[in-house]
């Protein structure tokens, strides 16, 4: 299972990268893309949208199923990745390079409470 060190993870299978400018980059894990299968549609939130932690703000759909994507922490959406909207299959190719959106967290410390790589690998392994 591909679970890079240095990222944070949610129990709902998002990965989160803390950037130097204080924003958080969010995508879905390799485990999630594999479970979903070939992705064919991605809907991302509007820039400027605020979300509570755990709120559904994006949707990814594979041939098989639709799946909500949640905000890992409370914050405001500051940018989205148009490349994955145009070509959802890129997430299947590399789930960590092809991010979905960037969030400016309401509280900088919240990200610390998310899972680390070892914690997520354990969770995904049991799933």
């Amino acid at each position: 299972m591909n679970v890079p060190e240095g990222l944070k993870y949610t129990e709902s299978h998002e990965w989160v990268r803390a950037e130097a400018d204080g924003t958080l980059t969010v995508g879905i894990t390799d485990h999630a893309q594999e479970a979903l299968g070939d992705l064919v549609f991605i809907e991302l939130p509007a820039v400027g949208r605020t979300a509570k932690a755990g709120e559904a703000i994006a949707v990814v759909e594979s041939v098989k199923a639709a799946s909500d994507i949640y905000a890992p922490v409370a914050g405001e959406v500051v940018s989205v990745n148009p490349d994955v909207v145009d070509a959802p299959e890129k997430v299947n190719t590399d789930a960590y390079a092809n991010w979905l959106y960037k969030l400016k967290p309401a509280n900088a410390g919240d990200v610390g409470a998310l899972l680390d790589a070892a914690g997520y690998a354990k969770l995904a392994g049991e799933a």
Partner: protein, 362 residues
């Protein structure tokens, strides 16, 4: 404990993603469902369909029994090896299952039923036999495996993998089967492409699977099987037809023979209640999601519901089968409720794709 087909270990070894399908541990894909789908449309793919159950009905009077038990008319099949698609109905017209019946000899018909309904079907047929034809035998053939080889190059690749099968099967017409040694090879399928469905002893399944693989046939999972059958406009039992609807409400009027002067289970119920709903195809025109089963369809004649929906790899668009009020016709504009949005779709007549050719216009 999930049931396993004779090819189970081969699927695991090939890295298949497995799912519970009607109580069976089956491959949903071996990597990419979309690539498997394209392999069948463009070249050749194979599916393990051993979870389906072959049942042999034997004895004098088998035809007369099936004439009453099946909604389609078994008198349409009189040449050895000829196959017929039919629904098995409840007395109230609800669909118990859909099946293929092969005429082998007057005292031997082979019936192939769905995996998840097999126990229910057997119990139903046994109760019907006890009342109508207690002398007939009904033998479930769990000793048999089934492999579907589908695609424009499927037939030649089977002959490459199994040279001895060519003589018996080269002249087979669509919807006919022929015996080749221990194998029954039928020119049937569930993909909208040419090909064969091969029934064989379970112990021989791995060897055939490996030989087909060596001949360049791509292993395909149930995921691709679903997108292929939906593009081909074929129903899936449990989604597009259930015990709650009649075949006339599920696009299967062509399989119900109400004309011939024979009685069959469900006939009087079908004759007494003309359908108020019908099955149509939908093509999604808007971006904004994928059509899925249970989404609401808003039409000028009232609301309907999607029974199967997916992203069509061949069209690059989302398609669906839906049950709508009978006034809805091909060409109508409808709206589908996808999450919090209403997306535009057009009513079309299935199939969407046959033999690699897209049949619906944008």
């Amino acid at each position: 404990m999930l049931k396993q087909t004779p090819l189970h270990a081969a699927h695991r070894a090939a890295g298949a993603r497995m799912v519970d399908f009607g109580g069976w541990d089956m491959p949903v894909n071996y990597g990419s469902q979309i690539e498997e789908h394209h392999a069948v449309r463009r070249d050749a793919g194979m599916f393990d369909v051993s979870h389906m159950l072959a049942v042999d009905l034997g004895g004098s009077g088998a035809r007369a029994f099936l004439r009453y038990a099946l909604a389609n008319n078994v008198d349409k099949i009189t040449q050895p090896g000829k196959a017929l698609y039919s629904c098995l109905l409840r007395p109230d017209g609800g669909v118990l299952d859909d099946l293929i019946v092969y005429f082998m000899r007057e005292d031997w018909f082979r019936i192939v039923v769905n995996a998840s309904t097999a126990d229910k079907d057997l119990a139903w047929l046994k109760s019907l036999l006890a009342k109508r034809a207690p002398g007939l035998s009904l033998l479930p053939r769990r000793d048999l495996a089934m492999i579907a080889v589908q695609g424009p190059h499927a037939r030649e690749k089977l002959w490459q993998a199994l040279p001895g099968s060519r003589v018996a099967t080269e002249a087979l017409k669509a919807f006919f089967a022929a015996e080749s040694g221990e194998f029954l090879v039928a020119r049937t399928g569930y993909t909208g492409e040419d090909g064969f469905e091969i029934t064989l002893p379970g112990l021989r399944a791995v060897a055939l699977w490996d030989a087909l693989s060596a001949a360049g046939v791509r292993a395909c999972g149930l995921g691709a099987r679903d997108t292929l059958r939906l593009e081909a406009g074929m129903n899936l039992y449990g989604q597009d037809m259930t015990e709650e609807e009649t075949p006339l409400e599920s696009g299967l009027a062509w399989t119900v023979d109400l004309v011939a002067p024979r009685d069959f289970v469900g006939k009087s119920a079908l004759a007494a209640a003309p359908p108020t709903r019908r099955q149509v195809g939908l093509l999604l025109l808007d971006q904004g999601g994928v059509l899925r089963s249970h989404q609401k369809v808003v039409t000028a004649n009232g609301d309907g519901e999607i029974t199967s929906g997916t992203f069509s790899p061949t069209l690059g668009k989302s398609i669906a089968l839906a049950r709508v009020p009978t006034g809805v016709a091909a060409g109508d504009a409808v709206a589908v409720q996808v999450r919090n949005k209403e997306l535009s779709a057009r009513v079309v007549r299935p199939p969407f794709v046959r033999n690699g050719v897209v049949l619906v216009k944008e």
